[in-house]
Symmetry: none
Subunit: 219 residues, 4 copies
């Protein structure tokens, strides 16, 4: 097979095509003709270890997915600038009418690390990471200078704080606030421990993250 | 199992955990301790039918993934505003030192549709989709008013034009241009036919998209 | 065997005669005595890779076939000049009373290429190709100057546009328009991908070309 | 399989695809990438019983084929009008540089019949067949009024006369005359007896048509 793809992707595509069952092929055809109707939007991180489709074992058509560095949601800013994540939110809520939005964070997040330990010099003169992570300025100082916590504790704490902050920012979007008040959309948070692949889900009342029980431990 | 997740995600997570082999668990542990070292960054669309991990059959750790509406790359704009996609690019190129960047488009893209058929009214007062898709203004008019093409042909044409436009924008980032000139990074384009799941890869010389040969034809 | 034919045609004829079954001989005899009654007329291209009889696996007597450069149908012009394609149409519709007319285009068409990239000088002083392809003047400009599309994309787009244009020209023939309105004839378009031999058929409602499903996917 | 094709063509396409060997698929791919290089052009009739590809058992890429009513070649007329057959000739000789041109007639030709027995009224007000067959005016009178020949003899005679007339017209094209004089192209005539499928080839010296010996009678 001759493609212009990186070798590992060409090989992966070949495996994908070869492994598909007729039912899966049929599902693609249906999804193409009927359009996508995902019930859930996931805001995840670019990190290579945190694909929502893997962690939630989803099939094509199940989840609408934004991925940016550190799975951040900016506040509602109808300022005429372009906003990648807000555009995706607008599409998911207004056009696709999703019923759930999940902010999915994870351990060992490079973006969160950058927010806590700004490099002496930006990664590039554009300092895009510095500027992007400044979205956490209102909350990063909560743990940033806390010498009583270890570096790993500060990191893990800010990963959770950031998820709650993003959920709060979701509520600055007028329609989301309205739909949530009417019970027509629900907002969720979750955090993946990438060392084990285990998921911790956020209690919407308390904001606490609790490990989703493992099936082999449950019932 | 009680979680605070949408039911279908909770069920999917349970299936993910239950199906993992010891080798897969071990891989997560290694990825957590050694950090991620993906060789490839993928810029994909939020569309629920186009998860790069599915199409390329990748494992955790393989690809660093940005997903935004219509898989767009804005031009290099070190203007002090926050730029989600540029931040991810900066992290991938400067920190992770990826060797490949792939812009992955697809058929039936809602963002491209919006660029070609702007609604009479924006989806929301913020008009985030309208503003975001205006990144294609320099190229959308190339087919937008073409009455000799069908609506689907205009859509399919702009999907490909947009991928080439995003790749051109990648080259406005100084380090990417420099690395590409030195042969240290390569830029790729691909487009997924969601009705069949088939991939078309872009010839870097001509810009043409060619169907990756089907495995049953290859040897 | 001594003939006055090119060697490869003499050899091919010998193979044709040798391979015929008694049933096939009988079919020729019947066709000669009863006359031809094809239900379908095909307007195809002269290109050596696009014989309709091969692609549709037809037998003698099945299809009435005009082949000209780029499978064009001129508009109805009862001007007293001779018109090869219009004469064939008149014969098919008025004398043979075909029920279907199919305009069959294909990828990599040399005539379409000539329409998009007129040579600095005509092929010969008569400039017959230039004049013939000028039948596409009303539509060629639709993509001809589009620098955002690759040369191959412009070619592929015009191949499809030209098929729709020829079908529109078919409707300028009074009897065809009348028969179609009465449901007594139907007009079709199709396009062959010569790299794979796959056929794309035109949706009569939208004008879109869709790949005829592969037999291995059908049931 | 859902297509927008007449049923018999959809079924035939399915059979064509299903029956292809890997070698045949590969041949299509090569033909697409390398372009067509047929050594021979055939000018045949639209008649459904006379596909040159069937009679000469050719493969895709072998012959460049014009088909019009009664396999006529008009004289060289660089008059600025569009000429379908002359355009194809120009392309075959100037661009493809074919080595052979074969005019292929056949028995029971409806066009020849029309030339000999003009209807009281034209088939349609445009009288395209009448005008097209007037290309034979210079020779049709040679047998048209000959009451000593039967109708079938007149038909058969004019079918052969017309082939020689078309070959003479080929020589009015300056480059064809020049190439033939230089030995770089050769012109051929042949006639198919559709009742038996047998071919009669024209002796280039005498103009006589002789039955190509049948293999089962030869050696």
């Amino acid at each position: 097979m001759s493609t212009h793809l990186p070798d590992h992707l060409a090989a992966g595509y070949r495996a994908f095509i070869a492994a598909r069952s007729p039912a899966e092929r049929e599902r693609f055809r249906e999804l193409a003709s009927s359009g996508q109707h995902p019930s859930t939007m996931v805001i995840g991180c670019c990190d290579s270890r945190t694909a929502p489709e893997t962690i939630f074992n989803t099939a094509p058509g199940d989840i609408f997915v934004v991925r940016n560095v550190a799975n951040l949601v900016p506040p509602y800013e109808p300022d005429g600038e372009y906003h990648s994540t807000s555009a995706a939110l607008e599409f998911a809520v207004h056009a696709l009418k999703v019923k759930h939005i999940l902010v999915l964070g994870h351990g060992g997040c490079g973006g969160i690390h950058a927010a806590l330990s700004p490099a002496a010099e930006p990664l590039s003169p554009g300092d895009f990471i510095g500027k992007w992570m400044s979205l956490l300025d209102p909350v990063a100082k909560a743990v940033g200078g806390n010498s009583h916590m270890t570096a790993r504790e500060r990191q893990s704490a800010l990963e959770r704080i950031a998820i709650r902050h993003s959920i709060a920012n979701l509520r600055t979007f007028p329609l989301i606030a309205e739909l949530e008040a009417a019970g027509d959309i629900s907002l969720h948070g979750a955090w993946v421990d990438i060392s084990s692949g285990e998921l911790w889900s956020m209690d919407p009342e308390t904001g606490d993250f609790e490990r989703a029980e493992r099936p082999d431990l449950a019932d």
